[in-house]
């Protein structure tokens, strides 16, 4: 691995990043390589445009939202730690993570954090709830054009209705988590290569 160009020394704050995200040294090197490859003009950070140049994201229905998730709080740039922080959500869950010191913050790739990441894809206005409107928007993104607006609205209604327990017409994070309790989220949202 360690080739001449990418050395751990090149990555600033590599230790704190490692601690925060849990990535191995080798993975961080690779990610850094990738980060530099995406950063076309060698600015040292990524802008939205850099991410938009990943062609495959253009044909992903959620492409825009995924890109947006890299830029929390309305910032315009994402630096390497921020980049890695998002990707850390997709690190596969290993068993040794489960018996963590309870005082330490939850690792980024815990089930709860993964779900939270997914939740934020729905909840654009960050009010902590997925409103029916937001659900409808996501549905629209993910469904082909043959489905009529009415059907979509029905589906959105039904979806919110199923998950909503306290009757406020929106799905909070807890309700979201509950509706997915049977699903193997850890496996769905893990990418093998991000060890």
């Amino acid at each position: 691995m360690g080739s001449r160009s990418s050395h751990a020394a090149v990555i600033p704050d590599v230790d704190s990043i490692r601690r925060e995200t849990g990535f191995s040294q080798a993975s961080l090197l690779r990610l850094h390589h990738r980060f530099r490859a995406l950063d076309r003009n060698k600015k040292g950070y990524l802008s939205r445009m850099d991410l938009q140049q990943i062609g495959a994201l253009a044909v992903n229905p959620l492409g825009d939202r995924i890109i947006e998730s890299f830029f929390p709080n309305g910032s315009q740039r994402v630096d390497f730690p921020g980049f890695v922080r998002v990707l850390a959500h997709f690190r596969p869950v290993e068993d040794e993570d489960t018996d963590q010191d309870p005082k330490k913050p939850e690792p980024l790739n815990s089930r709860r954090n993964k779900l939270h990441y997914a939740f934020q894809l729905y909840d654009l206005d960050r009010d902590g709830k997925i409103s029916r409107h937001e659900m409808l928007q996501v549905l629209r993104l993910m469904v082909g054009v043959q489905v009529t607006e009415e059907q979509l609205e029905n589906i959105a209604d039904r979806t919110v209705q199923e998950a909503d327990e306290d009757g406020d017409g929106a799905v909070s994070f807890l309700e979201f988590t509950k509706s997915l309790e049977k699903m193997d989220v850890e496996q769905k949202m893990s990418i093998r290569i991000l060890k």
């Binding site: 740039r77 054009v145 059907q151 209705q161």
Partner: protein
């Protein structure tokens, strides 16, 4: 219903065949007698068709012998094709059993008919026909459709597994059978070691790709897929090399006094044959790539060049007793990359389809021969030999899989799980290759050839039918985590969202591989090879305009059917709808579920998918277009309303920059481009214009979807590189800077975001290239600009 149609087809064809055969018998009798009389009769040319020696011109003649061979061959191929049509009409079948099953059945049917009518089947497959005509297309197709990047990433494991696996299997089976033959009770004493080894080598020729289609939907991961594919690719070559070597041994050493020197020589020969073949193939590949550089004016011969050079590499290698199969494979792999970029789009499609067609025909013919051999009197059934063969095939395959993978897992970053290994073990289905090799055993050296052929047939039938049919359920069983399946709608939606999300993040991560070697190769490739082998790119304006038209047409349709007009960002309805959430009945739920399952966009398949028997239609292309158009529109709508982008930025922020557009900029004028500054670079850097434009890349992105390649990444890459319209990296940089700047008209944004990124350098793992461009269906905002150049496409 579909099955009945198929049966009807089948039966009509059988009828036709029967009729033809009857006629042939009749006419051959007639012809014989006619010929004999013809010698005596002075007017020979009259007598050819009539049995009476008097001189009448017959009005209706039948001469079947003349056309017999092509006629029957064509009829067989047609029959197989009709069977395939029937097979696919009933859409569940392809998921149940591999297509080889079907071909074998058709072959058996034809064999039965021929046997039943006692007809001498004319084109008997012999060694030269098989090796010269039938085998190359099959191998060429395998090599051409192989995805190169994953192949080379995994090349170590693939070579280790394919080469050693074939060797272990061949030698293992051979030796075990030899031991069995030593047992007197089975009556096999006369089969010596060499013959057993030879049989072992031919029976270990697997054809695992045939079963790939069966478990395709189980999302086999890329590495596993590559293992299977790689094995299939190299296995043929290796077994044929072994086979030829052992035949040479058998010829030389009739007394079985093989000295160690010979064995060493054999091993050395094996290596030379293999490596030499590959070298030949690479050389021919480069030559043909070089030649396609110059064919832009006669693009009709491009497919011809590709095929002829591949075939030539095969023949040239065979002349020198090197492995033609490996040569043709290497030629296809080398050639593919450069040829794809050089040839025109239509030639590219032609090459692919023609290759599929040829290989399909070859394989059909081989299976028919196999069927013909099955039904017949040429069998020698020996229970012991056959049963032990079957048993040893499975045992040795298991041994080789688990042992070899155990070792190679130590060195891999992503080891293969036991489940993967089981799948590889179980996919050891034999196919046409082993049958052909068995059939072509020289009878003089193998007095018990019939027994070998019978045993081979049994193994093939067993593996194809039993393993082929059960592998689907097995894979699904191994793959399934959850058991029951009535997911709520919530779950379905969220699962799909997560799948898309995962695919997207995987794309962000890109492909990881052993960078050094790949980078070095890429640099070398870029610096030298591409300059020599790839033609200078000229803008292909006709294609650009064609795609523009298609895009526009689709956009128009979408809008007209009212789909896009739905307001994406209307005021939240919640306020009005808190009550009145109706309770939906179960049927409604069901119907909703159906709607969702049918209509949700498929997750982009990052894993590869290969079907040996046909080219997948591109459903993903349409989906991709829809997604792109919608995004376009969404963006535009949001801009228009003055909202910020849907992701929560406060409206009215001026991150949008207007850049001025120079009048009469020739470049842009020539290219229908439009530029908008949409900079989301930091606002603190006003000096740098952020450039964007060129509808080309947009088109290119569609172009990519166009190529009926099932591997989206690959097609993206290809699209990005071809049709660069002179967009070499350097020029794209310059265009980036060059600027299109447009005068800001008013503070309020009545403009659109067109933005796109020029083509990216294509460096960096060759995958991050810009291909997204968004253009807007401008509806009249165009008049707000001063634009000198040609209008954009939107006008509706």
């Amino acid at each position: 219903m579909a099955l009945q149609m198929f049966m009807t087809f089948g039966s009509w064809n059988c009828l036709l065949l029967l009729v033809a055969l009857e006629y042939s018998k009749a006419s051959s009798d007639v012809n014989e007698s006619a010929n004999s009389t013809a010698q005596h009769a002075p007017n020979a040319w009259f007598a050819a068709s009539s049995s009476e020696p008097d001189e009448r011109i017959s009005v209706f003649e039948l001469d079947y012998d003349y056309v017999q061979i092509p006629y029957e061959v064509t009829l067989w191929i047609l029959l197989a094709s009709l069977a395939k049509i029937g097979f696919h009409l009933y859409h569940k079948l392809p998921g149940l059993m591999p297509e080889s099953c079907l071909l074998i059945l058709v072959g058996a049917l034809v064999g039965g008919i021929i046997f039943g009518t006692d007809h001498k089947s004319p084109p008997v497959m012999d060694s030269s026909i098989y090796f010269l005509y039938l085998l190359p297309p099959i191998v060429l197709e395998g090599g051409y459709f192989m995805p190169t990047r994953p192949f080379f990433e995994n090349i170590g494991s693939i070579l280790w597994w394919a080469v050693l696996g074939a060797l272990i299997n061949a030698l293992g089976i051979g030796l075990s059978l030899y031991l069995i033959c030593q047992v007197q009770a089975f009556g096999l004493g006369d089969v010596n070691l060499l013959q057993n080894l030879l049989f072992g080598s031919l029976i270990s020729a697997v054809d695992p790709v045939a079963v790939l289609a069966v478990f395709e939907e189980a999302r086999v991961n890329e590495q596993l897929y590559m293992m299977i594919f790689g094995e299939a690719l190299l296995n043929d070559g290796i077994t044929v090399v072994l086979y030829n070597m052992l035949i040479a041994f058998t010829k030389m050493h009739k007394f079985e006094d093989i000295e160690p020197v010979d064995i060493l020589a054999g091993c050395a020969r094996f290596i030379i044959v293999g490596v030499g073949g590959v070298m030949f193939g690479i050389v021919f590949g480069f030559i043909s790539a070089f030649i396609t550089r110059f064919t832009q004016n006669i693009s009709a011969i491009e497919p011809l060049i590709v095929f002829m050079f591949s075939y030539l590499s095969y023949l040239a290698a065979e002349t020198l007793y090197l492995s033609g199969i490996l040569a043709i494979t290497a030629c296809a792999v080398t050639m593919k990359k450069y040829v794809e970029e050089n040839v025109s789009q239509t030639s590219y499609t032609t090459i692919k389809y023609f290759m599929k067609m040829l290989s399909s025909v070859s394989e059909t013919l081989i299976f028919i021969f196999m069927g013909v051999s099955t039904v017949g009197k040429n069998h020698e059934w020996n229970w012991a030999f056959i049963c032990f063969t079957l048993a040893f095939c499975q045992i040795w395959r298991a041994i080789s899989v688990f042992a070899l993978f155990y070792v190679s897992n130590q060195f891999r970053t992503f080891p293969f799980s036991i489940k993967d290994q089981c799948i590889i073990f179980y996919s050891g289905v034999r196919g046409a290759g082993s049958f052909s090799l068995a059939f072509l055993l020289p009878l003089s050296l193998f007095p018990r050839k019939k027994m070998f052929v019978t045993a081979t047939l049994v193994v093939i039938y067993f593996t194809v039918f039993i393993q082929g049919i059960t592998i689907g359920p097995l894979v699904r069983y191994l793959d399934v985590k959850k058991t029951n399946k009535k997911e709520s709608i919530n779950e379905e939606l969220h699962i799909r969202l997560m799948d898309h999300l995962k695919a997207g993040i995987e794309d962000v991560c890109g492909h990881w591989s052993h960078y050094q070697v790949r980078d070095k190769f890429k640099k070398f490739d870029h610096r030298y090879l591409r300059k020599i082998l790839i033609r200078e790119n000229l803008p292909k304006s006709s294609i650009v305009s064609l795609y523009k038209k298609l895009e526009m047409k689709q956009a128009i349709e979408m809008v007209e059917t009212g789909i896009l007009s739905s307001t994406a960002f209307s005021i939240p309805h919640q306020a009005q709808r808190i009550q009145g959430i109706k309770r939906l009945s179960p049927e409604d739920v069901e119907s909703i579920r159906d709607i969702l399952t049918c209509n949700m966009y498929q997750v982009r398949q990052r894993t590869l998918s290969y079907n040996k028997y046909n080219l997948k239609p591109q459903t993903s292309e349409k989906q991709a277009k829809e997604i792109l158009i919608r995004r376009q529109n969404t963006l535009r709508e949001s801009m228009r309303k003055g909202h910020s982008l849907p992701w929560g930025k406060p409206a009215g922020t001026k991150n949008i920059r207007y850049l001025s557009f120079p009048y009469g900029n020739p470049q842009s004028a020539g290219r229908d481009t439009r530029a908008a500054g949409f900079s989301d670079d930091d606002g603190s850097n006003p000096g740098s214009p952020s450039i964007t434009f060129s509808a080309h890349s947009r088109i290119r992105s569609l172009q990519k979807q166009q190529a009926p390649e099932i591997i989206p990444m690959k097609s993206l890459r290809r699209g990005g590189k071809t049709l660069s319209f002179g967009y070499q990296r350097s020029t794209s940089q310059e265009e980036h800077m060059g600027g299109s700047r447009r005068v800001a008209l008013r503070p309020k944004p009545p403009f659109h975001a067109v933005d796109e990124e020029g083509e990216s350098g294509g460096e960096s793992e060759g995958e991050a290239f810009a291909v997204r461009s968004r253009w807007t269906t401008d509806r009249g905002h165009g008049r707000d600009y001063h634009r000198s150049h040609s209008p954009l496409l939107q006008r509706k």
